[in-house]
Amino acid sequence: MKNLNTLLAGVFFAVALPFGALILSGQSQLGGLGRAAGEEGGALFPSREPGLAIQGRAVYVSLGCVSCHTQQVRPAGQGSDIARGLGARPSVARDYALQSQVLLGERRLGPDLANYGARTSQINVETLLTDPASSGAVWHPSYRFVDAAQRTALVAYLKSLRQDYPSPEAKLKK
């Protein structure tokens, strides 16, 4: 392999081919997803995010919550997410179609939050942020340093996280 141009061309194609095949074709397959009704004549989902929830997502990102929490429910056969009650159905690509920033997460040091809004109350979230020990959380940091406005936005964001509606791609577990 004496020829530098051959080497560079080979490496270029080694990078470009998977990029095209995985990312660009993924975009072409999923880029057109939007709101849809799970059943004929039903309401359209996913819902648009409220403004306060969008602000709350910025707080969620700035605190680095994504390093410990995921936002995705795996199908049966890939872990026990549904049996554990993390969601009534697996997450599908459409659930994230309206999100400007998708935070699927890679690690679960804390529980999954894809359906957090559907399984908790306002008071629980406030307590978790200000006094995690009394809320029964294990290892959860305290966010007492977060000011009231940010906390309100963060609570609104966490409450907005729900995938408890039917989707054309995944039926709700009865």
Binding site: G31, V61, G64, Q78, A93, F145
Partner: protein
């Protein structure tokens, strides 16, 4: 190192040397030392943050717990970015430059351009880390810096990481070696990957989960094509060089190179098994991760075949450079095999979302890449500075603290991750109980973080002591 060593312990002293360096090496001295010193400073900073993050994790109280700058999410992010972009990149800027110059036998002209790139890289990194501590991060691991940092890092990379390729293109020698292929491949691939990922994740975000897809593609490429390829370049150089023999089955090295680059780019979606992305993408990632076993096996034949003949392992154990490099080679094989096996759906279902993925990543980034850089430093610095390593004891402390600290951490991540995954798979076990069950592994990680800090401090003291004691550059004409 070829000097006789009857003590059976790593040597703290360099081999032969007349205190002067060749003209080729003299031209590398400035850029190399800038990258190397920056790398070690960032490594120390990352190690300190690593200790704080480890102590912070799993404890409900602590001095820093109520401080926004030191909340777990920010400190863990900053630590990881410092380690990858501060230590990892600077270290391989230095090592790759040296390898290319040595094998291409060229004088590194206009080295100030590479130095300018190094300064720009470190300034952009400092700014990015300050923004992370302030909470201005993107939420995408290893693309955490605010998006304005990305283009600066890309340009800095072109100067610091790609400029040596331009010099390589004008080399006087025609023949090339496996090390050069890997360095050229890594240095050419990274800017492409980084710019495309910046574009689709931060500047013009792709729709919905395609962002996650682009992110996983970036992470896989960063780890394999930059860290993996750069580390392999060094392994392919130092092993035959120090052992003074040809690699076993070296004729297979081109196959290893091309299959490594061909398959690595497709492995990203293997990290998304079970995620809301199309099944065909997940399956492609799994197949590619399994196909990566081909280059891993060929590298194993080249490297472990060589070490297993004519007392290679014994010599590796008794030589400082080779001890670190062999450690890295074993870690590479282990990372490749485990990565292939645990990409399969049935295995991934258990270890997904646990520390297992961290363990695999660290096998490559620390166990392989960082250990290889340490070993290379023991070889290169005496030649480049014309000075001796000040303390053999610090070399011992460095090796044992990093080796034991890393092994403890990787066992905690892999075994702890597997146990964690088994408990997660059982819906009858409460989440709080699963976390409590991992407390003992958390303690191991705390001890490991302290050990790694000790090892890195020993390395820094020795290296800085050597650089400060180095005589003024005086070149010999050879």
């Amino acid at each position: 190192m070829t000097q006789d060593n009857r003590s059976g312990r790593p040597q703290g002293r360099p081999p032969e040397g007349d205190g002067r360096v060749s003209r080729g090496e003299a031209s590398l001295r400035g850029p190399f030392l800038l990258f190397f010193v920056s790398a070690v400073v960032w490594l120390l900073a990352a190690s300190v943050l690593g200790v704080i993050a480890a102590l912070d994790l799993g404890s409900m109280v602590g001095v820093l717990r109520d401080c926004a700058w030191f909340t777990q999410g920010r400190i863990a992010t900053a630590q990881q970015d410092l380690f990858i972009y501060g230590w990892g990149f600077n270290a391989f800027f230095a090592l790759n430059l040296w390898l290319l110059a040595q094998l291409g036998r060229f004088e590194f002209r206009n080295g100030w351009l590479a130095q300018l790139g190094g300064v720009a890289w470190n300034l952009a990194l400092t700014y990015g880390i300050a923004r992370v501590f302030a909470g201005d991060m993107t939420g995408y691991r290893l693309l955490d810096f605010p998006r304005e940092v990305g283009p600066v890092l890309a340009v800095a990379f072109l100067l610091a990481g790609f400029w040596p390729i331009v010099a390589f293109a004008r080399r006087p020698t025609g023949h090339t070696f496996a090390s050069q292929w890997f360095v050229v491949g890594a240095s050419f691939a990274f800017p492409l990957i980084y710019l495309l990922a910046q574009l689709l994740v931060l500047w013009q975000p792709a729709s919905g989960v395609v962002q996650a897809l682009a992110h996983s593609w970036f992470i896989a490429n960063l780890l394999q094509l930059w860290f993996g390829a750069s580390a392999l370049a060094a392994i392919y150089y130092f092993l035959p060089k120090v052992l003074e023999r040809t690699l076993t089955g070296y004729y297979l090295a081109p196959v290893a190179f091309w299959t490594f680059f061909l398959f690595a780019g497709w492995t990203g979606p293997a990290a998304l098994v079970g995620s809301p992305v199309p099944l065909w993408l997940q399956s492609t990632g799994v197949v590619a991760a399994a196909m990566m076993l081909i280059p891993v096996i060929i590298v194993a034949i080249n490297v472990h075949g060589t070490l297993s003949s004519q007392g290679g392992w014994a010599r590796a154990w008794n030589d400082t450079t080779l001890r670190f490099v062999s450690f890295g080679a074993v870690a590479f094989t282990l990372a490749g095999v485990l990565g292939g096996v645990f990409a399969f759906r049935s295995m991934s279902a258990v270890v997904r979302f646990t520390s297992f993925a961290t363990g695999l990543e660290q096998l490559l980034v620390y166990g392989c890449a960082s250990m290889v850089v340490f070993g290379a430093s023991y070889f290169i610095l005496p030649r480049l500075t014309g000075a001796l390593w000040p303390s053999a004891k610090l070399v011992h402390v460095h090796f044992w603290a990093t080796a034991l600290g890393f092994l403890a951490a990787v066992v905690a991540w892999l075994v702890g991750g597997w146990q964690n995954g088994q408990l997660l798979a059982n819906p009858a076990v409460a989440y709080a109980d699963i976390l409590r069950a991992g407390a003992s592994w958390c303690l191991v990680l705390k001890i490991s973080a302290v050990l790694l800090l000790v090892g890195h401090v020993a390395f820094a003291l020795n290296a800085f002591g050597m650089i400060l004691k180095a005589p003024a550059p005086a070149s010999r004409h050879d």
